[in-house]
Amino acid sequence: MSTEHCVIIGGSHAAAQLAASLRQEGWEGQISLVGADPMAPYHRPPLSKGALNGDKSDSDLLIRPAEFYEKNNVDLVLGSRVTKIDRDAKKVILHDGAEIPYTKLALTTGARVRKIPIPGSDKDGVCYLRDLRDAHQIRKYIGAGKSAVVIGGGYIGLEAAASMRKMGMNVTVLEALPRVLARVTSPEISAFYTRIHNEEGTEIITDASIEAIEGENCVTGVKLADGKTLPADIVLIGVGVVPETELAEEAGLEIDNGIVVDEFARTSDHDIVAAGDCTNHYNPIYDRRLRLESVQNANDQAKIAAKALCGKLEAYRALPWFWSDQYDLKLQIAGFSQGFDKVVLRGDHTTGRSFAAFYYAGDKLLAVDAINRPKEFMMAKRFLAEGKTADPARVVDESADLKDLFVD
């Protein structure tokens, strides 16, 4: 019997994948997965969609059923928060004082919502959305005929707005910047999503400045700086996340916008790996360091981390990809568009609901945002990973065969 013990801190996508991958890679020691959430790891993307409107039950969301962990001899220590990592004694200390010794440690601590100081944000009905408890909380305040104000026009905000609108609610989205999705996409995509939300009956106010959230105990509305008050039964705030790095930082590990890891997902202490939203890692396809907030990165990096713990060093080299479902729109993103200097559109974004945006830096294709264009997404995902680009003159020509677009 091996005396090795891998303790995984954090209980989401990366944690579930890391535990499964450790067994696949032949880890014979003990595995403990310590998660603050009382539920075993679950899919988070549905929290702004199917889990919000009740289409999906809690158990539908589980990444793996309880039997999986039993069968693979993974101890789930749920509803427990790690308060300290003691690297000298090689143990973690839990909120109730209990201690778990480790020989290897995996940090899959993820990210937490960024909170903003708006007067009145302590009222009932003001919600954030990160975990299942948040989704349960939100469900108390939503329903047909009610009004919602969403603060933040990012993916979470827009997905939740679409879900609530589809339930028959009156929805307004407030965005502080001049356009929605400003941090993650091009003006063309922002304009497209604004049009669609408007067509579906959701109002989007950009350059919004909020004065206060109004109401006695419960929220009744949101007052804007221009004096206008928007009525609200719920205020949902989605203004981004910050990586959970405190434990790692207090343990003396290197931090720089996330837990710094090498290409094998190892932290500055090689007995400790990290994976998912909490990491800052090097991506060879883009030749830069990235901190990604995505299921793809959580899964793919967790596999690399598990290999490293089993002594199989394989460099992380994955193409980032992402998706967002809103109304009847399936947005699929292949690659990472930040740093682009040119956008080339295949299809028309000003009418209809299907086109793709190709992002370039010089001649290099960085990423493709495909809206109801699964073929463009699939081809881009494959060829970007191979370092190929696409001739802009052919991209705009819809008669050009997709398979011939991509070149070295």
Binding site: P45, I63, N72, N299, P374, K375, M378, L402
Partner: protein, 106 residues
């Protein structure tokens, strides 16, 4: 409980007992069948759960919708019997189904 057999690219067969109402991708991942990844959790967004349905069963598993068809058009090893397993719901009718997995997910 329907019994489904997954056959990996190398020919290794795994028989799993599945409750009706879950999809084939879940049936595979929940039972540790490697060769089905299901990264997007069943949202028909990633095509990492590509599989081949034995011809005798195609009537019972139904036809892919247009999004799934487009995704399948662009997978690494497409075939006439390609499907995304997250889009096939397990029913009692599928008891005995044989599902083959592509090399690219091996």
């Amino acid at each position: 409980m329907p019994v489904i057999t997954f056959i990996s690219h190398s020919g290794e067969a795994t028989e799993v007992h599945v409750e009706s109402g879950v999809n084939l991708m879940q049936a595979a991942t929940e039972n540790g069948v490697s060769g089905i990844l299901g990264d997007c959790g069943g949202a028909c967004s990633c095509a990492t759960c590509h599989c081949y349905i034995d011809e005798a069963w195609q009537d019972k598993t139904g036809e892919p919708d247009s999004v799934e068809k487009d995704m399948l058009d662009c997978v690494l090893e497409p075939a006439d019997n390609s499907r995304l397993s997250c889009q096939i719901m397990v029913t009692d009718e599928l008891d005995g189904l044989v599902v083959r997995l592509p090399e690219s997910q091996f």
